[in-house]
């Protein structure tokens, strides 16, 4: 049986669009220092240090090894994950495997991105097949705009609903001192923003941010000694599908990867009514239609109901089922760090005495971010 794994330390840098006087190593050092302080431990207590990042954005190959003086990995075990937008959660899962396998007891997991050092869209465009679709599916937005239109057509969701999502996110991010875009936007403000690719306008797309997040993970016996309120990483699921139209759920199809992930996770954890049995959802929401669309696809709500929840205000910070109360990826997207930040933010929510949650994190896996 797998050893139980807990999150005992959380640290994140402030997130922003440009920090020319800070390099990527210093970002990592900042997050690691905060996580270790939070856990009340030192780097010498870490048995392994793992890193997740995307090579092409900053233009560094093997940067886990390159920056290991900053991360504390020098002289310690560890290796790098690189799975795109999911890399942060994959690194957290990597830490989970290190401990659950019984090989290690205390691990440090880090995700980071310094987006101001490289152009994001040319880098991300190379995710597509060089022979088939690299020439026309530019960056992430091509696919996401297409699925957004498809979703609007089949569900009845309107542009205004996406604007509401962004307005809600801005309210949440405004209260999160670590978020990147903390300006408050009204629905009208969002509607007036410059169109990027229909239906997504500038404010409905995530920004390119920089930042780092680190977490200290520990086995059950260690966790109880390290802190009074460990947050347990109860379950995780990873689902991947082929790249292309099928993945984006174009037309009538829904996102099969999300549906499979939701179905597996809820079944394994005996959750029949996700919106009652879990109290918060930190979602990797890189565009405004993601929240309504993916709540449906993760089987959290019924098909075509996502945008109605937004209309009711249910997904707001103070609503009945807050989604991305940190402001989400819509307000902060430092890609290699975004997914681990979701885990960290969800864990921070669980540390608060007011909210009691049964399900800790919904791990999800997307192949397009």
């Amino acid at each position: 049986m797998a050893n139980r794994v807990a999150i005992v330390g959380i640290g994140q840098t402030t997130h922003s669009g440009r920090r020319p006087y800070v390099n990527d190593g210093e970002l990592i050092y900042d997050a690691v220092t905060r996580a270790l302080e939070d856990a009340g431990l030192t780097i010498n207590d870490m048995e392994a240090v793992m890193a997740g990042n995307m090579d092409m954005f900053e233009g560094h190959h093997l940067n886990d090894a390159m920056l290991n003086l900053y991360s504390g990995a020098a002289g310690r075990p560890g290796f790098k994950m690189n799975t795109g937008g999911t890399v942060g959660t994959m690194t957290a899962i990597q830490g989970w495997y290190h401990i659950a396998s019984g090989l290690y007891d205390v691990c440090l997991v880090i995700g980071w991105e310094k987006h101001d050092e490289g152009p994001a869209t040319p880098a991300i465009s190379t995710i597509t097949d060089p022979a088939v679709d690299r020439h026309f599916l530019v960056g992430a937005i091509g696919g996401l705009a297409t699925v957004s239109v498809a979703y609007m057509q089949r569900s009845g969701c309107k542009l205004e609903h996406a604007a509401m999502v962004r307005a809600n996110a801005s309210q949440a991010a405004h209260r999160n001192p670590m978020a990147h875009m903390r300006e408050i936007y009204s629905v009208e403000d969002v509607m007036k923003a410059r169109m990027v690719m229909y239906p997504l306008n500038l404010l409905m797309c995530c920004p390119t941010s920089l930042g780092a997040t680190a977490m200290v993970l520990a086995s059950e016996s260690k966790a109880k000694k390290i802190c009074k309120k460990p947050v347990w990483m109860k379950d995780h699921v990873t689902v991947h599908v082929e790249y292309g139209g099928a993945q984006f759920g174009i037309g009538e199809k829904r996102w099969t990867s999300h549906m499979e992930a939701g179905a597996k996770l809820f079944k394994r954890n005996h959750i029949t009514k996700p919106m009652q049995e879990t109290q918060v959802f930190e979602m990797y929401d890189p565009f405004a239609f993601a929240i309504p669309m993916w709540l449906e696809d993760f089987l959290v709500c019924e098909p075509n109901e996502g945008w109605k929840l937004i209309e009711k205000g249910a997904l707001k910070l103070e609503g009945e089922y807050p989604v991305s109360p940190s402001g989400g990826v819509l307000c902060t997207n430092s890609i290699g760090d975004s997914a681990i930040l979701r885990v960290a933010e969800a864990a921070l929510q669980l540390r608060q005495p007011i909210r009691r949650c049964t399900l800790h994190q919904l791990y999800r896996r997307l192949r397009h971010t």
């Binding site: 092409m56 020098a74 075990p77 396998s101 019984g102 190379t126 060089p130």
Partner: protein, 384 residues
């Protein structure tokens, strides 16, 4: 380790200087088909998860595992990509099994070095504040390491050359090897100088290929094959990155990795307890240094060890009976190909370069500038 993880089967392509008629995913399909057939399982129904290993820069593609589901038929399954050496992917696969999460998984790595300029990619992995702008690549790093090693321990270029003669000679018996040659020490030393003291024949050739493996829990492995190979020990550590932060004649990370792996596997005397070693020597001098790190001889005695002939195919402790990396295998696949060779040896399927009666082996993967990261796996057959 908590339980035992079994390697059911392993496969690899033939390693070649270029495979212009095969797409990267053709290689993955080739090795996956082979390994699934060898394991006697159904790819679509039986495999629970996939651990892949590749590098964005080498593939020229962000998220280089993007096309993997098509190639390994893993629609809606768990896939994760290790961005490092293939030996780490095997280790990560083993963790999947040890945690109880999975019972049967596929590990696959691929790379075509021929499609790009390796020097450029190596340079991009070097510290971007101070050192990258010097134009350093791994061959220069290796040359500095070889010089420092010679200076500190009085190892000679002739001893480096002997490694090349041995490994490329062993490769003559290995059908998958890329560069098999009958060489003399003189020929090695007189080949083109790349970065003193490293000559062309002392460097791993540019290579294309892929490797795959099926890992299973103890119970499943025993059902699937009469010759499962168990992973009984593992260790992996990083060195410091900046060349000035460490003594290049030492290999502390490897020493620590080996110590951890040996402790897990109950190995006290590596020379006696092991039957063969497959290690990652990107450059000839590395084999000598790594044999020291793996405890096959004392510190500074790597040169004497190759002189003694103990590491020859018929010696006391054969090192790289397959021909090692000097006979060809691309980065990222490199460490996994070492594991695969060790698996075939223990299964008695190595062919002409079979080490008779091999029961316990070490496979070693490494990566980065002057061997910055090391992963050691102890593999055994039989037992309990």
């Amino acid at each position: 380790m908590a339980g035992r993880v079994g390697i059911v089967a392993a496969s690899a392509t033939k390693f070649e200087a270029a495979k212009p008629y095969q797409h990267l995913m053709d290689l993955v399909v080739e090795v996956t088909d082979k390994v699934v057939e060898a394991a006697g399982i159904n790819l679509k129904d039986d495999i629970e998860a996939v651990v892949s290993c590749s590098q964005d820069f080498w593939d020229g593609r962000t998220i280089s595992s993007m096309p993997i589901p098509d190639a390994v038929c893993s629609h809606l399954k768990d896939e994760s990509k290790v961005a490092g050496d293939g030996a780490y992917a095997v280790l990560y696969g083993a963790m999947h099994i040890l945690s109880g999460d999975n019972k049967l998984i596929l590990v696959v790595s691929h790379c075509e070095e021929s499609i790009t300029d390796g020097t450029m990619i190596e340079n991009w992995s070097i510290d971007h504040i101070f050192h990258r702008w010097l134009g350093l690549d791994y061959t220069m790093g290796a040359a500095m390491q070889a010089r420092r090693y010679m200076d500190r321990y009085k190892v000679t270029p002739e001893q480096f050359a002997k490694v090349v003669v041995k490994n490329r000679g062993n490769a003559l018996k290995n059908k998958l090897a890329q560069e098999a040659m009958n060489l003399t020490v003189d020929q090695v030393l007189k080949s083109k100088m790349l970065a003193d003291p490293i000559t062309e024949l002392q460097k791993k050739p540019v290579s294309d290929g892929a490797c795959a493996m099926i890992l299973a829990s103890e119970e499943v492995a025993k059902k699937l094959t009469p010759t499962p190979v168990w992973i009984t020990g593992s260790g992996n550590y990083y060195e410091h990155h900046n060349l000035g932060d460490r003594d290049l004649a030492e290999c502390d990370a490897l020493i620590k990795s080996a110590k951890r792996a040996y402790k897990m596997a109950g190995i006290n005397n590596p020379v006696k307890d092991l039957d063969l070693v497959e290690l990652s020597e990107y450059y000839a001098h590395e084999e000598l240094l790594w044999t020291e790190g793996l405890g096959l001889c004392g510190r500074g005695e790597g040169g004497k060890l190759i002189d003694s002939g103990k590491t020859q195919l018929k010696g006391e402790i054969p090192v790289n009976p397959s021909g090692g990396l000097l006979s060809g295998a691309p980065v990222t696949v490199a460490g996994m190909a070492r594991v695969a060779e060790a698996v075939w040896q223990l299964q008695g399927k190595a062919g002409e370069h079979q080490v008779q009666g091999a029961k316990r082996a070490v496979a070693h993967g490494c990566g980065g500038l002057a061997g910055q990261m090391h992963c050691v796996l102890v593999l055994e057959k039989g037992g309990k």
